[in-house]
């Protein structure tokens, strides 16, 4: 029997092969047959979760509550020292210097990355902006968010900070950051489902020790991570509570 592993669809495209390498590494370490299934979007992935097809997931924090409360998933690990942060940026020629100066009716570009969009919308609240008084421009990638800003087709854009920082210098020079979140406690997590729960301790142990050998280090590098760090149940529940406060 093969268990399904899936990755939050907002993963950095450069790391796609890294997740396949990681899956191979994980199967060798745990002796568990795991199939990596990459879904094109959050809706397809959530449908698979609802149908109980998924047993292991690198999950967006937005989905953590549903995974824990409705599907019995528990946390394993998170990338060490990493957290999800959002940026609100404008075209560098835009005279606006503060989010509070953005007017209702602005054209706002974003992706469907749910936690980043939520953090971005929170950072727009001081300007009295919300989903009801902005013109949303939904984009498939953060590069497209940047393109809308550069072409003057959007007035502001919401970026995952890591994705913004990864844009080319030429693009970044033509953009300006209005605000960058410093929340620190919202992060993606690798989580394990009910069908694999009896293997949780074993999975957690080999993941935490992954950076101790050169092969493991190489796999981590292909994911853009330095190491995995344990996430205990209370830390996950705390993050879920936090996400609950932010979603209203």
């Amino acid at each position: 029997m093969s268990f399904i592993f899936t990755v939050s669809p907002d993963f950095t495209p450069d790391h796609l092969s890294g997740w396949y390498i990681f899956n191979t590494w994980l199967q060798r370490q745990t002796d568990v047959s795991i199939h990596l299934e990459m879904y094109n979007n959050f809706n397809d992935q959530r449908e698979a979760i609802r149908d109980d097809k998924v047993s292991l997931i690198y999950a967006n924090p937005f989905d953590a509550a549903m995974l824990v409360r409705e599907k019995g998933f528990l946390p394993l690990v998170k990338p060490a020292g990493a957290s999800d942060e959002a940026i609100i940026a404008v075209n560098a020629n835009n005279p606006i210097e503060d989010v509070a100066q953005l007017a209702p009716g602005i054209r706002l570009a974003f992706t469907d990355d749910p936690d980043v969009k939520m953090m971005g919308m929170i950072m727009l609240e001081p300007g009295d902006l919300d989903a009801n008084n902005v013109q949303g421009i939904s984009c498939d990638t953060y590069v497209l968010v940047a393109k809308h800003l550069l072409r003057g087709e959007a007035d502001a854009g919401i970026f995952l900070a890591e994705a913004f920082d990864g844009l080319s210098d030429m693009i970044k020079k033509q953009l300006r950051i209005l605000v960058r979140s410093q929340i620190s406690v919202i992060h993606h997590s690798l989580m394990i489902g009910p069908k694999l729960l009896e293997r949780r301790d074993g999975f957690q142990k080999c993941l935490i020790e992954m950076n101790n050998d050169s092969k493991g280090q190489g796999v981590l590098e292909s994911l853009g991570f330095k190491a995995w760090e344990k996430v205990d149940d209370e830390e996950m529940l705390f993050m879920i509570d936090l996400m609950d406060t932010l979603s209203i």
């Binding site: 950072m123 609240e125 001081p126 410093q182 929340i183 509570d241 932010l246 209203i248």
Partner: protein, 158 residues
């Protein structure tokens, strides 16, 4: 346990008032008209036990309140209570979260130095295995328009 505010901690001219706090406590408050603006992009996060005693704070809480982490942990959350906040707002907060629901509102918080800062606060009960083990409060930067509305409204609620 909560201590009266001390003049040596206050920055600027201040007024004095004694407040009745949740749980039957009283506190001498020294407060000024100096506002600290909420920093962009940050969240102030704290957790209390079911009685409202602080058990966890993040660094933004420490920076905005002016207290040290050691001063905050073990203190009642009403250490932030500003005399301009109507008691009805906090009654509504407790009545709401004790039914297991989320509460959200705009709050003027008191700093250790007597100054204040406005927040948009959300409080939710932390439910573990069906039991409320505490409350998490997350504060974010408020809309200035909403703050101006509260500045007009709150004095009418006493």
């Amino acid at each position: 346990m909560i201590n009266d505010m001390q003049p040596e901690h206050i920055i600027g001219d201040y007024k004095e008032v004694t407040l009745d706090l949740y749980g039957g406590m009283r506190r001498k408050i020294l407060y000024t008209e100096i506002e600290t603006s909420y920093p962009d992009g940050k969240l102030i996060v704290s957790t209390t036990n079911p009685d409202g005693v602080i058990t966890h704070v993040n660094q933004s809480f420490v920076e905005m309140s002016g207290y040290t982490k050691d001063e905050l942990i073990g203190s009642p959350h009403s250490i932030l209570r500003h005399p301009d906040m109507p008691p009805a707002a906090f009654k509504d907060l407790w009545d709401t979260v004790k039914t297991g629901e989320k509460w959200q509102g705009f709050v003027k918080n008191l700093r250790k130095d007597g100054g204040y800062y406005w927040v948009k606060a959300t409080v939710i009960p932390n439910i573990r295995k069906g039991v409320v083990v505490g409350y998490t409060s997350v504060r974010r930067k408020p809309s200035r328009t909403k703050v101006e509305e509260c500045i007009q409204l709150y004095p009418t609620m006493f």
